[in-house]
């Protein structure tokens, strides 16, 4: 069994055992944590092998015959998959351990833990898929796990709503995504990703078609990674248990959109217009989400908007061809955002509320949570030497390079990205500082359980905090990460033989100007927040005045969709049901001769039997349209 297969099958098996063997909580915990541990060991082995020698392998396990397009059950292993897989496995393990005490007493814990295992398997499938259709399977299974886990507290209205919403909003993107896969697969003649990479050198497909196809793929990315205009599901998904938010809605599933662009980066590079669109969408999302994070009273919603904003950083990096920088930020963000969520979970666990204004003064009661969360927030803002500084800095430098070398199709795009990313640093520093102050300083709240959380919750916090610092150390050696990411790439010899060659190294060094600028901007954001908080000790969000409710509602996008999409759909549905009456039925069941029946049918429609009339009209219209279209085609 290859490591790729093992990384998928181990958590899948844990899920199967967990879901079918209706065990007790303790047994379920053993299976879930055990599965996560083995998965981690497997991916760690691969990651080490990658660091030492580089790994690159692709294997097919069978065909999916359909007579039209070759599809294969193919898995691959390379630097990108090894790097993302270890991150996924590590966060999954931390979350499974943390969940044992966070939800251990919950009667729904066994199915919860099994669903997390299933989710892990699905994410591993995405990471290791070497065929777009296979990737799509993992992609959607993640979505359904997210649905079930968000709705874990299904007795609560918000949780029920949020689960359905998360699935449906992403499904809109996913359908377009599937059409994009069709276009790519049929246009190039293969659904195999490693084959696609080889084709890119030649002409993959006509430029316009490629642009359309990659834009369709982008719709799936935008849905999964909660970018504009499909960002609305992620803040609501915070109704799920906090460890789920940490794993699925911060570190892994939402990052799958970013991963997808990285996985098909050769294809996206050939579609410059799509990359420009991606960069612009990401830049707008980055700032908009950060602004929304500024005023959220719910600590988890602050972090959710923050995730949207940080994912936008990664996508913006990919949009300005700073591939390694984007991936570096994906990894560091996975660590520090999972840390932040788990720390927030600890706060919620102790205080018994999600609301920041009801917290305060917790630094003395919960010293471990305080220190680890401080590290996480510092990394989020981008303060050296924490990892977030290096990864974000790499993105700034990447945008700067794109400005100078003119590689971007549209010159203003990297400028736009750089400027907006810098402004966003100020806002990020502001909302991070606000969260920090409201939770840990000021007047003391009266927690339900005034003590630090237990070791199974503290342990993951400490490990993730250590990782958050450690990944920064990796950033100091600016050639390491790019080397791991694409140590070996698939290539084609002149004779057509596939071979593996070492890739060119890219460096991820912080730039002097961007470093100073971003630190100054961060200081401004943090400083202003601190000053306003110290003056009044009230929520600094109050300062924004009438802007606050607008930002709180996420710029009102939700209510817009409700008016434009949801309510009209409901109206059409109700009308359909009313209209669904016998059309032919009257003629069939009626007695008398054919002419009498026809006469009756005609009379009915003339008498104003609106329903019947409308159905016949609709059917007639459809047939006429098809006839006209067919005639025009020939």
């Amino acid at each position: 069994m290859t490591p790729a297969l093992a990384a998928i099958l181990v958590p899948a098996l844990a899920a199967l055992v967990g879901l079918t063997a209706l065990g007790r909580s303790r047994r379920a915990a053993a299976v879930a944590v055990g599965g996560a541990l083995v998965t981690f060991a497997v991916t760690a082995g691969t990651a080490i092998a990658n660091v030492v020698d580089g790994v690159a392998d692709s294997a097919s396990y069978g065909l999916i015959p359909n007579g039209t397009a070759p599809m294969q059950v193919a898995l691959r292993l390379d630097g990108l998959s090894a790097t993302v897989a270890i991150m996924v496995a590590a966060v999954a393990l931390a979350v499974q351990i943390y969940s044992v005490s966070y939800l251990g007493g919950d009667p729904r814990y066994p199915s919860y833990a099994a669903l997390i295992s299933l989710f892990t398997a699905a994410m591993m499938l995405v990471v290791h898929a070497d065929d777009l259709i296979i990737l799509l399977i993992g992609w959607e299974v993640m979505g359904i796990c997210s649905y079930f886990l968000v709705a874990h507290h299904w007795e609560l209205r918000d949780a029920r709503r949020a689960g359905v919403k998360a699935f449906l909003v992403t499904r809109i993107g996913d359908i377009a995504f599937m059409f994009g896969i069709f276009g790519l697969g049929l246009g190039s003649g293969t659904f195999r990703i490693s084959d696609l990479e080889l084709l890119v050198g030649d002409d993959l497909m006509a430029g316009n078609t490629l642009t359309v196809v990659t834009l369709l793929l982008l719709a799936g990315v935008v849905g999964k990674s909660a970018q504009l205009p499909l960002q609305v599901w992620l803040p609501d998904a915070m109704a799920g248990p906090t460890p789920v938010s940490a794993l699925i809605h911060a570190a892994t599933m939402v990052a799958a959109g970013v991963f997808l662009v990285a996985r098909l980066y050769d294809v996206f590079l050939a579609a410059a217009a799509t990359l420009a669109v991606l960069a612009v969408i990401a830049a707008i999302t980055m700032l908009g989400a950060a602004l929304a994070a500024l005023v959220q009273p719910d600590i988890k919603r602050v972090l959710a908007y923050s995730t949207i904003s940080q994912l936008a950083y990664m996508l913006a990096a990919l949009g300005v061809q700073a591939y390694e920088a984007g991936m570096f930020h994906l990894i560091t963000h996975g660590a520090f955002k999972a840390l932040l969520f788990l720390a927030a979970g600890a706060l919620i666990h102790v205080v018994g509320t999600n609301l920041l204004p009801e917290m305060g003064g917790l630094r003395r009661i919960m010293p471990v949570t305080f220190v680890t969360m401080t590290i996480g927030l510092a990394a989020l803002i981008g303060i050296p030497p924490f990892s977030g500084f290096f990864s974000k800095e790499a993105i700034f430098v990447g945008a700067e390079e794109a400005i100078h070398d003119g590689s971007a199709a549209t010159a203003w795009v990297p400028w736009f990205v750089l400027v907006v990313a810098m402004i966003t640093v100020t806002v990020t520093a502001a909302y991070a500082t606000r969260l920090w102050l409201l939770a840990f300083f000021g007047t003391r709240s009266a927690p339900a359980q005034p003590h630090e959380v237990g070791w199974t919750m503290r342990g993951p916090l400490v490990v993730l905090a250590t990782t958050t610092v450690g990944l920064g150390v990796i950033g100091l050696r600016n050639d390491w990460f790019p080397a791991w990411l694409d140590r070996l790439t698939f290539t084609v010899e002149p004779a057509g033989i596939t071979d593996l060659v070492p890739a060119e190294a890219t460096l991820l060094a912080p730039g002097l100007v961007t470093s100073i600028a971003s630190l100054v901007l961060a200081a401004i954001g943090a400083g202003l927040t601190y000053l306003s908080w110290r003056r009044t000790t009230a929520d600094p969000a109050r300062l924004l005045g009438r802007l606050e409710p607008v930002l709180d509602r996420g710029f009102g996008v939700d209510s817009l969709y409700d008016r434009v999409v949801v309510r009209p759909a409901r109206r059409i549905a109700a009308a359909t049901l009313v209209a669904d009456r016998d059309v032919v039925g009257a003629a069939v069941t009626g007695s008398g001769t054919v002419s009498q029946r026809l006469g009756a049918a005609v009379r009915r429609s003339q008498d104003g039997d609106l329903q019947r009339y409308l159905t016949v009209l609709l059917a007639g219209t459809v047939l006429v349209i098809v006839a006209a279209w067919t005639a025009a085609g020939t």
Partner: protein, 510 residues
């Protein structure tokens, strides 16, 4: 006639024999043994179907095998010609499986109006018609088996059905039979046109001829008649209006067989008969078929969004799902037709399971309406609710479960339809079907939300605790659950059978 050819014949004779035996065992004794006997006969038939699968040469799935070809009524040029290929074999197995599960389920769960003898006899007779339709290789034989199905189904709905506010069981059954009779009459007209032009009813000969000897205009007329008749059974919008009442009235096993096997006769007939026999006529009508299929997808989805009765909801969802099958067939591409055949089988398994589960819910609550069932089923009967959620998720076409492959390949076919078809139209249809796929997810998750989730206090007060999945339910449902997962993760299992047969059908492969 090959050595193993007795299998198909036996597969039809066994349930027929069973039906007669069950009906003839007299008195109270007959009533007592009827249901176990039915399960035994159903079991033997299933074993025979499995034997057929094993005897089938999977490397030659594109050719007819296990053939029986006897002269029957020479004067009328009728032959008793049976055989299976990769297209029919999966449906044969599906039918035998569903029939067995229904008969096994009936050993413990009877519809309200008792008379177990008659019920079992009728179910077995239904199985005869279904299996016969899927193995017949002669148009007249196909028609006869097609008709055999109607009468038992009428009894199942009219006698053992439940009246609903919208219609009585009897009137639902009447609508069903009148619609489908009219459909078959039109279909037979098409068969007669084909015979008049080619001089044969033999499907193999007709398929080999691929429309030779029939003028384009004749082909269009024949195709129109046959497609029209089969479309009633499918059902294709706007000929679907018999379906919701029939399903709502039918007892659980009736609904399972209706959705799981009966509806497949329509789409199977399109692929088996219309496509190869009158290819030019099909080509002319395909865009209309696809367009009406897509209207059905959207229409069914919207009707489901507003629906408040579980059985009706699943009935309307069938209109949508069969719309995908129609779209797939209409692309006239290998991917589209393979997808349609896959969706056929997947819908049989998934909707069969849905009707089983909903039937179980209805038995427990005495109602299948949202209000009657109440909420928070996750709390009251966790396993029952979990299986409902599973079936709903499978029904929305989640990748990794059986429903995905059919839908995906159908849409893939529409992305790049046969070169004779207008591509712009098909891209539009694909996009609309994609919208339908989102709506499908919407109404299924809404249903799970309404029934399985919700404040525990809001659960129907008299039913705060329910019997969870019983052992007979577990027995009848688990094969469906396993197959839905198996066909989801291993599509080659079914595509390996259909793909060569579709290649033969379209003349695209060896």
């Amino acid at each position: 006639m090959s050595a193993e050819a007795w299998v198909l014949l036996a597969m039809i004779i066994v349930p027929a024999l069973g039906s007669a035996v069950v009906a003839l065992v007299p008195g109270p004794r007959g009533d007592r043994v009827a249901r176990p006997l039915g399960a035994i006969f159903g079991g033997i038939t299933l074993v025979l179907a499995v034997v057929a699968v094993l005897a089938f040469d999977h490397d030659a799935a594109g050719t007819f095998q296990l053939e029986t070809d006897l002269s029957w009524v020479p004067a009328l040029d009728l032959r008793f010609h049976l055989g299976v290929d990769g297209i029919s074999l999966p449906l044969v197995l599906l039918t035998a499986l569903l029939a067995f599960l229904c008969l096994a389920y009936t050993t413990r769960v009877m519809p309200k109006a008792a008379q177990p003898r008659a019920f079992v006899a009728v179910l077995l007779l239904l199985e005869v018609g279904l299996l016969g339709t899927f193995v017949a290789l002669d148009l007249v034989l196909f028609f006869l088996f097609f008709e055999v199905v109607l009468i038992p189904m009428w009894f199942v709905i009219a006698v053992w059905g439940d009246s609903t506010p919208s219609s009585t069981a009897r009137s639902a059954a009447n609508t069903f039979i009148l619609y489908t009779l009219l459909g078959s009459a039109v279909m037979v007209l098409g068969f007669l046109v084909v015979h008049a032009e080619t001089g044969t009813f033999d499907l193999v000969a007709l398929a080999d001829g691929a429309g030779a000897g029939m003028a384009r205009g004749t082909q269009v007329i024949a195709a129109l008649a046959m497609l029209g008749g089969l479309a009633v059974k499918t059902p294709m919008w706007p000929l679907h209006t018999w379906l919701p009442d029939a399903h709502t009235a039918a007892p659980t096993v009736g609904s399972v067989l209706l959705a799981g096997a009966l509806l497949k006769m329509g789409t199977y007939g399109m692929v088996r008969v219309v496509l190869p026999v009158v290819p030019e006529g099909t080509e002319v009508l395909a865009p209309y078929l696809g367009a009406l299929g897509v209207v059905g997808i959207l229409y069914g989805s919207f009707a489901c969004l507003a629906q408040t009765d579980l059985k009706r909801l699943i009935a309307y969802s069938s209109v949508g799902h069969m719309g995908f099958v129609l779209l797939g067939i209409s692309t006239l591409t290998p991917a589209g037709i393979n997808g349609a055949l896959y969706a056929n089988v997947a819908h049989g398994l998934i909707t069969g399971l849905l009707f089983f589960v909903v039937g179980g819910i209805k038995d427990r609550h005495g109602s299948s309406s949202f209000d009657g069932v109440g909420r928070a089923l996750y709390a009251r009967a966790p396993r029952l609710a979990a299986i409902l959620a599973f079936a709903a998720v499978a029904s929305l076409g989640l990748p990794g479960l059986a429903g995905f492959w059919g839908e995906m390949l159908t849409l893939l076919g529409a992305y790049d339809p046969s070169s004779a078809l207008p591509r712009g139209l098909y891209l539009t249809l694909m996009t609309l079907a994609g919208v339908g796929a989102v709506l499908t997810a919407a109404y299924l998750l809404q249903t799970v939300r309404r029934v399985c989730q919700g404040p525990i206090a809001d659960a129907a007060p008299r039913r705060s605790s329910l019997e969870d999945v019983s052992s007979i339910e577990a027995l009848a449902w688990s094969p469906l659950v396993v197959l839905v997962v198996l066909l989801g993760v291993w599509p080659g299992l079914l595509l390996g059978l259909t793909d060569p047969a579709v290649a033969t059908l379209l003349g695209t492969g060896g």
